[in-house]
């Protein structure tokens, strides 16, 4: 399965991609929101794993834009972020409406957890 990993930190992206590749997935990496949109344009992934803390154009803004494209509505998103989900409570973000199937807080998420979440998200989407 083809996964798009949106992760600005190069070192972390390498390690996450390595773990996800071991689960048998094909991974492409984007470090910015614009790069992610360009990659989705070229090849639509089966799953997006997204860090919300992206420089300049944050992950939430990316999600809102991403959801405006009707061709991409069915693509599930796993948020894998250094930002705690409680930060968004006051903003009343509806994750479900943004195609988010699960929110993983990085400090609490092991590589095995990430692999598991990706597999679950992909199996539900088949």
């Amino acid at each position: 399965m083809n996964i798009l990993l949106i992760e600005p930190d190069v070192l972390s992206a390498k390690l996450y991609a390595l773990a996800l590749t071991k689960s048998g997935h094909s991974i492409s990496i984007a470090s910015t929101a614009q790069e992610a949109l360009n990659r989705i344009d070229k090849k639509v992934p089966e799953l997006i794993i997204l860090e919300l803390d992206i420089p300049a154009h944050n992950g939430l803004e990316f999600l809102y834009e991403f959801c405006t494209y009707s061709d991409w509505i069915g693509i599930p998103v796993v948020i894998h972020s250094s930002q705690h989900p409680d930060r968004f409570n006051k903003m009343l973000v509806s994750w479900k409406e943004l195609n988010v199937v699960t929110y993983l807080y990085k400090p609490d998420t092991s590589l095995a957890d990430l692999q598991q979440a990706a597999s679950v998200a992909l199996s539900k989407n088949i």
Binding site: V10, L11, L15, K106
Partner: protein
């Protein structure tokens, strides 16, 4: 607490988060113990340097000594090698000026080291072929210039703007908008300012980086 200190606390909290998560991630990956050591040591040195930069401001008298700029470049390039290597950034040293300057060696070295590490943090997100920096000591009309530069001058306009913006952030408590090493720049700026030197961005057709000019008055003329 004044707004500058509050802003700095916010920056520190944000900028420690990513390196600590990297350590956590590496701990789950096989054969990465050396990388964990490099990152952990870098974090501890960063916190030490931050404390030192504040304690220095309480010192009324600085001890000055002759410092060889070329030798300083070599030492700093050696010190940052492991961290740069972890991020696949190549470090070169070009030393055109060996004329000594009068400065506090440890403060000058700390300032220059953190300038250099800041550029490593910026450049590590570039394509691998462009991840190269060089440290240089040369002579200008105003004095000896210590600088760290990207080896490739094709930073795009957005990155140049960000380079200027992130430098300004070290003096203003602005919410973080770029993946920028503001804490390192803050440490470098404070350390160098304590000796009366000013860190600047060096952006022209040939150079992309950070530099500090050690004025002619600090140069030692040896006969």
């Amino acid at each position: 607490m004044d707004s500058e200190r509050l802003g700095l606390l916010d920056v520190i909290a944000e900028e420690l988060r990513l390196p600590l998560m990297r350590v956590q991630l590496l701990a789950q990956t096989e054969n990465r113990n050396e990388d964990i050591k490099v990152l952990s040591r870098d974090l501890i040195e960063l916190l030490d340097a931050l404390q030192d930069s504040y304690n220095q401001s309480n010192q009324s008298r600085l001890e000055l000594e002759p410092v060889n700029p070329a030798q300083l470049c070599d030492e700093v390039s050696h010190d940052i090698y492991a961290y740069a290597n972890l991020h696949d950034v190549r470090v070169l040293s070009k030393n055109l000026n060996k004329q000594p300057v009068l400065a506090n060696y440890s403060i000058l070295k700390s300032g220059f080291k953190h300038m250099s590490l800041a550029l490593v943090d910026l450049i590590k997100n570039y394509d691998k072929s462009k991840r190269e920096i060089y440290l240089n000591a040369d002579t200008t009309e105003l004095g000896t210039r210590l600088g760290v530069y990207a080896a490739h001058t094709d930073f795009d306009a957005a990155d140049l703007r960000n380079l200027r913006k992130l430098f300004l952030k070290t003096t203003r408590p602005i919410a973080r908008q770029t993946n920028a090493p503001t804490m390192r720049l803050f440490i470098a700026d404070k350390s160098l300012a304590h000796m009366g030197f000013k860190m600047r961005t060096a952006i022209n057709s040939r150079e992309r980086g950070l530099a500090v000019v050690l004025p002619l008055s600090s140069q030692l003329n040896l006969f």
